[in-house]
Assembly symmetry: C2
Homo-oligomer: 121 residues x 2
């Protein structure tokens, strides 16, 4: 299964799923599936790049502070929510959800998808 | 009800609750309730200050980017999880949970506690 297939499967399995991406922590996507109209409305690509940058800085601080790398970050905004799950030191999978989407299922599906994508990296 | 009473009530109502704090985004606590032994083991005060700093930077980027301020941040680590809920531009309430704690209930209780604390600020 290709990256795109897996990202599509995750995004389409979550109520409210708008964009699912495999991205490096410098904010550059490897591959992305998005519901284009909704994703453009929420400016989801830019939002994810902002959050990725912050997550990367925080992860560095956490590792340096002896807390270990984070397994998951989430950010809830007025119009959407974002779940980020690091896969390696360099890459993470992220899902943007429209407001009212199934946050718990998003977290669950990223947890399941992470090792599948990791094997292919 | 004092800040400490409310923070104690929240922390003691969540399975796995280790530390509940009302803190400014520069990492300085207004008031804190903690289960001392477990909190010291996890170095929860320092962890929260690190996450607060990152959340503050991200919030600034999100507001400047037109996404609005975040309603909630969460970070899951190997040994614990942290939920942060901004109350005002300056202050947030946060709860640190030991691994296996009730993450969903932590999010719920912070949502309920936020307006109670906001009224007193």
């Amino acid at each position: 299964m290709s990256f795109r297939d897996e990202l599509t499967r995750v995004c389409e399995s979550v109520e409210g799923g708008v964009l699912c991406t495999l991205m490096s922590f410098d904010g550059i996507p490897v591959d992305t599936f998005e519901r284009e109209e909704e994703s453009a409305r929420l400016n989801a690509q830019t939002l994810l790049a902002e959050i990725a940058n912050a997550a990367n800085q925080l992860n560095t601080a956490l590792v340096n502070g002896g807390f270990g790398a984070a397994g998951e970050f989430t950010v809830n905004l007025k119009e959407c929510a974002v779940v980020i799950r690091p896969i390696t030191h360099e890459y993470f999978i992220a899902l943007a959800l429209a407001q009212g989407g199934n946050f718990g299922k998003a977290r669950y599906l990223l947890r399941i998808a992470a090792p599948v994508l990791q094997e292919q990296l």
